[in-house]
Point group: C2
Chain length 437, copies 2
């Protein structure tokens, strides 16, 4: 394998040009494989993909990664930053008991700025390590901690949306907010982020219907309108949760309609995690509102929540992605979450032969271009898309046989880890490990 | 964390004594947790566990691992060594097509001694890295390659059973054996292993019923009897496979009975992988024969085979373990295979509420004492058991909060990897990485 040029990459006036086995899923759904091809940046965006470098790039340094596989970097649209230390813990419980037993006590600690600092850095380091260079994260109810996560995200080289969590009912005393204060804190963060940050955005983050009063949801809906904000929350993850929402809102036909009634299904700007137990009317509403449904396969198996009918959703034209949902999900590694989604799709197929399992192209799309389309033109090597890329190389002991680039990709999704990622690029520039440990 | 003593461990006349948070599943099923306790070896075996070191150990060096968690090392009773390079590849196919498309072409390459050498070393290195210090592996049909795997296993410090695969029907030309030759080669390896190897044993390895003639199975059954050999094979993994066996043996009431008829269900000495689709009479027979049922959760999801009714088997007193089945399974990491077994048990529970999900104690047992009981007194920190241990420490960025030892263990099972394993001991001695890369 050729030693790559790194000296000039990302420097002012010099475009990044990568060479290797390029693989991505095109927005039309096919797996694109271009062996030993060139991928060039035009500022933050993809200029093009070529088998031979066009004359205008003559003399420019090329980072030649040999037979390595180069794919779009991963996006994770549903992850709880404060729950990062709880990965893999407490999976004997189901959602509501698990929130009480693990999640809320952990999140209550983020009033401590020193603890938050430590966790946020480890969190961003881990996203970087696993190749997740764009994300949408829940922080906690704490304004100060949320702002600090936004600052650190800005400094990291990653591109993120971060939300202060809102919760003012059915919550432990340590986390339950005053409604007016919750709204005021939120608005302040929205404004501050707009003024001070360039690459990190604010996303409205009501925890979920059971922990937000109608008055709070109304206020958040108005903020969404006022500042044209994206929204993220949870929807229909667990049967007990769905029953609880029905009990809290007997006058509303479904869980999704509660968000809708309060202006929180903002068209094309909303992420709803889980979406396992939806009524037909909810599905129609989500589609109409162009909501992105974040399938969290590891979490759904970890907390015995169920299996999302992903194939049905894809067939009916819903916008879908795969997300980690750390710490309901046990790993932030999006390759493993894509593999988990494929595994669950096969298990679902065992009982429902009309729902075909995910293909490799789809599994890749669901962690690149799928979530990327929520963020803009992100997640594919198409001209005008963000230049986000990961270089995947076999580690020692794994380069035993001549696998095709597609097979190398599949192997990385199933059994690779951060050690196989030799380089990471976000928005046209290489990204190094954000924080020392 | 105290810097551990390593200088004297494993040296002649000096017993290994470890101190840390000891966790294991007792043979009676409970999770044993002994904080900051001592574990001492008596030669290859566990001498005992104490909260304070008994006087007879006064002055002996103690490896103090501080707050690290120390657990029994892992055992993997179903893994295909030659398929190691194929991990994570080809999971768009189901069993029989996948065997034709991926497995057989790969195994045919093991007539090449150089290729075999490279793969075997990488395979053993990976087992070591993941903390799998005892195993039972399929090699290939090739005598020379099988023997070389046995020699390398012997040199590695791991303890393994290795079988030359037997297959003389329904196999590609490149792998199909002459029946007499297959038996003669097998017997030669049995004898050679007994003469030349101390810690590596031979295990009879008919691939599965569809690829072994009755004459071959009869011959292997006789060899089993003659040399009192263990046996490993596959059983009822996939509905098409089960239907094929029924078609091949219309006179035999079930798949398991075919093995039985040819003397291949040797009492207490047999491992049968998968066992998803069993008839009640087969279950009774397997129990009576004290067969170890190797549940391969990752493989069963990867190849869309199904979910083994593990809870039912445990309730009816079957001997069970969790195994990786690389490369039907995508990872040799037994922590992840235990987590996968727990996940599948929860998914099964969703539709069958009478089948309770695996507990943490059970998940640990199924990769330690469960498979260990097939190998002898292995897989628990009980006096007289083999002194096999792994020291689990959080990696940088993971030591963010005070998790209990049980929670640290759970986190390691779900999201840990070889980097969290600080030391490995097998049969009373530390084991270092077997081969350079």
């Amino acid at each position: 394998m050729t030693v790559p040029w790194r000296c000039c990459a990302g420097q002012e006036g010099i475009a990044v040009i990568l060479r290797g086995n390029l693989i991505w899923t095109s927005p039309s759904g096919g797996l694109e494989v271009r062996r030993r091809a060139y991928l060039a940046a035009d500022g933050e965006k993809v200029a093009g993909v070529w088998d031979a470098l066009p004359p205008e790039y003559a003399g420019q340094p090329v980072e030649d990664w040999g037979e390595a596989v180069i794919i779009p970097a991963f996006c994770d649209l549903h992850i709880h930053a404060p729950q990062f230390p709880n990965r893999g813990v407490g999976y004997g419980l189901q959602l509501l008991d698990w929130l009480e037993g693990y999640t809320f006590p952990m999140e209550a600690r983020f009033g401590d700025a020193g603890f938050a600092e430590k966790v946020w850095k480890a969190f961003l380091n881990r996203l970087w390590a696993g190749g997740t260079l764009r994300f949408s994260a829940f922080a906690t109810v704490h304004s100060q901690a949320t702002w600090r996560l936004m600052e650190l995200a800005e400094a990291s080289g990653l591109r993120g949306l971060v939300g202060k969590v809102n919760m003012d009912r059915n919550s432990p005393d340590s986390l339950r907010e005053d409604t007016g204060r919750s709204l005021a804190d939120t608005e302040e963060l929205v404004c501050r982020a707009r003024e001070e940050l360039k690459h990190t955005g604010f996303i409205l983050t009501p925890r979920f219907v059971p922990s937000t009063t109608e008055r709070l949801m109304d206020g958040l809906g108005l903020l969404g309108e006022k500042y044209d904000l994206p929204v993220q929350s949870h929807l229909a993850e667990n049967p007990s949760e769905v029953a609880w929402v029905r009990q809290l809102h007997p006058d509303v036909p479904g869980y999704a309609q509660v968000y809708e009634r309060h202006g929180l299904l903002r068209r094309g700007r909303t992420i709803m995690a889980h979406c396992i137990y939806l009524l037909p009317e909810e599905r129609a509403l989500l589609k109409e509102r162009e909501v992105t449904l974040a399938h969290c396969p590891a979490s759904n198996a970890d907390l015995a929540s169920g299996i999302m009918p992903l194939r049905q959703y894809l067939a009916e034209g819903q916008r879908c992605c795969v997300a980690s949902d750390v710490a309901g999900g046990h790993t932030a590694a999006m390759n493993r979450n894509a593999a988990a989604a494929a595994a669950l799709s096969r298990l679902r197929w065992l009982d429902r032969r009309e729902e075909s399992p995910l293909t490799l192209a789809e599994a890749l799309w669901l962690i690149t271009g799928g979530p990327g389309s929520f963020l803009g033109r992100v997640g594919a090597f198409e001209p005008g898309y963000a230049f986000d890329a990961l270089v995947i190389r076999p580690v020692p002991g794994d380069d035993l046989t001549d696998l095709s680039p597609e097979e190398r990709l599949e192997q990385f999704l199933y059994d690779g880890d951060d050690r196989s990622i030799a380089a990471r690029y976000c928005a046209g520039a290489p990204v190094e490990k954000p924080f020392s440990e």
